[in-house]
């Protein structure tokens, strides 16, 4: 985990404009987080995984593999990349260069993928350490409802 932490922290230091990185297990359990997020890590992970899985499903219908999602918000950019057993999400300022973010994401995926042979043990230790539970569909709905309530 220390090596993965070093990779993530290295990206944060090296690339200007990056606000945060989240490394998720394929079920949305956060394995490593860098940056400040107001949401609970567990909720954030669940939402990101749900978004990714939705687009992956669209890809399946189109006969395509999903490699990367790029989202542009008002002041931020979000880049989400697939890994063999996880997802890497990078959040950066609007002024950041996407080319560089993609390069870092690809390099990180290669290196982390080699380190994460199997995330089962990692997931178990994260879940025990942070008292996470596996998110269900009802949980996702509750999270979204909370967010909507907060926005109105």
């Amino acid at each position: 985990m220390d090596e993965i932490k070093n990779i993530i922290q290295g990206i944060m230091k090296r690339v200007p404009g990056i606000k945060g990185l989240i490394l998720l297990d394929i079920d949305g359990i956060p394995l490593e987080i860098a940056g400040n997020f107001e949401m609970r890590a567990e909720d954030l992970g669940a939402l990101l995984a749900a978004c990714y899985n939705s687009y992956a499903q669209v890809g399946v219908e189109l006969g395509q593999n999903l490699d990367m999602i790029i989202v542009e918000y008002g002041d931020l950019k979000l880049c989400q990349s697939a890994m063999p057993r996880g997802l890497l999400t990078i959040i950066a300022t609007k002024e950041s260069y996407l080319g560089l973010i993609r390069l870092e994401a690809k390099r990180a995926i290669e290196m982390i993928g080699r380190l994460m042979q199997d995330t089962k043990d990692l997931r178990k230790s994260m879940m025990e350490q942070h008292k996470f539970r596996m998110p269900g569909d009802q949980d996702i709905e509750m999270i979204l409802a909370k967010l909507r309530k907060g926005l109105t």
Binding site: R14, L98, G99, L100, L103, K106, R107, A108, E110, R114
Partner: protein
Amino acid sequence: MTEPAARPERTGYLPFRVEVTAGLQEEASALAAVWHRTRMVVTSPGPDLAVPLCLKLFSYIPRYRQVLLCGNVPKEMKYLKGAKLMEKSEPLAQQAAFQISLAEEELGAAPIQVIYFGDPQAATRDLFGPIDRGWMIVSPNIPRAAIEKSTSSIQGEIRFPEGKIYLLDALPADLTIEKSILNETIGSSPGVREYMIQMKETEVRLAFQAILAETESGRAVTQSYLAEMLKVREKTYHKILDIGLRERRMDLRPYIKETVPKVIKFLKAISLWNEASLGAIFIHKNLIGYAKYKDVDFPSQNFLTMGERMEALSQTEIGPGHPWILELNTREMNILLIKHRLLYGFVLAAGADSALFRMKLEGLIDELAREEISNGA
């Protein structure tokens, strides 16, 4: 069979095919300015001379770039192959379109080159203000003072018989590659010159994409490895990274382990001797130094393979111990492999005095061994 019709004479018009009397420095500067997407204002004493100068610059634009013509485009330029004519539209909308195109370049879209015909003041105020690369304004009879007033400060000026080019960004300091291409094609037809320029520009772009793919893999990438694989010399290597930065806003230098000055000095010293055709230095499996002195086909990977076999042998009872030297003499070449702290591989010409070479090498290796050379990873 009828003779082709004679070209009608036009006052003040210099046919594009005539060799222009501008010096090599001016030509090389203009080529570098276009290649590096320098912002510029092109002016001429009259409208008739602006077009030939513009056509010259057009021939320097890499063909993989998307050329966009806008403003009051003269009819001679409207139908240029590969150029897209932009219909006149609201400047802010055009500016937004350019900015989107520039943003897409980061993801690999073809870089744009905008050529605007019209007043520089209006163009920089309404159209190009926030755009930091890839445009030129063509406007006859504009004095320098007027350009300075309406744009950022002028960084340089290139004079041609047809007119002047005012550069709003600094040119790269090293124009060796540009001069080399132009020198090689002195006296050649414009077609051959254009071919040589386009070939180099395309080579540089493809090489950047290859380097990007290597860095994306997460593997350790050294400058020596790239020099061998892409078969590029040092100046071309730097040009590749500079153009990549200008076209894709990606600085790959932090991801590449550059050759240490001590290793460069070592390999340069050997270049002065006659014996060596090729030299390579490894730390573990990483190629940290590579130099090809003569035309020889010998992948450096072969040194590594031989070194691994020797190391395996050195673990046995009949092992040679450390350091060891392996010499293979063949009809075509002599191969010398030395394991000291680092692994050194050399290809010598067949019949070269390898004993003398080893004697000269000993001092250099001792000197290098005293230095702290970090792993290329």
